[in-house]
Subunit: 121 residues, 2 copies
């Protein structure tokens, strides 16, 4: 559990978009890495707040009434219950903090975007 | 709550070492930024796991039986109950992820190092 985790090393080990991988666990929460490109479906998480930190590239979180644009070293918290979708025009690399056992598409099940939960890297 | 947070901007706003500032809150957890230099006292946290992610510089977490050295983009989780101390030969900038209400010196109260809890930035 006390091993060093390198984000760059983790990102180098996969190529798929929108498929989060767990790289650390603590206090019932997970730290995940994810590569994104394109636009994710609208959804919300009933009981979980979600944090996105951009590691590389540009990324945005769209709410129904505004858009938050993020670059490297910038983060945003999406509160539980708030509808949102995420998007990146070019590939971006993100770190996500959220409780263990969250479905990436929240209240939605999507044949393309719903990813396995708890996949470790 | 859905405002963009820039880590660089946050780090530019203070200079003290070993004094964590909360920059985001979610799911009962806090994301903190901290500048460190020198060596912190040995301590442990009874009930909280703690994550350190290096943003700038070099940093190490010393356990009684080993040392984990970290550079930018590298992280480690210190499990609850495990004695440790943190150190940096030159100034380093860290992001910390842990439950709200954690005392930075854990089971120890130190006149120099124990910092205010929940200080926001």
């Amino acid at each position: 559990m006390t091993d060093r985790v390198s984000l760059s090393e983790k990102f180098a080990r996969f190529t798929e978009h929108w498929r989060p991988r767990v790289v650390a666990e603590l206090n019932g929460q997970e730290v995940k890495v994810i590569k994104v490109q394109g636009t994710f479906p609208w959804h919300h998480h009933e009981r979980e707040d979600e944090l996105f930190l951009v590691w590389r590239g540009r990324f945005r979180v769209e709410f129904r009434d505004r858009v938050v644009e993020l670059g490297p070293g910038e983060l945003v918290v999406v509160p539980r219950g708030v509808e949102h979708r995420t998007a990146a025009d070019e590939e971006a690399e993100l770190v996500v903090f959220e409780p263990a056992g969250v479905r990436n598409t929240g209240n939605v099940v999507d044949a393309t975007f719903t990813a396995p939960m708890g996949e470790k890297l």
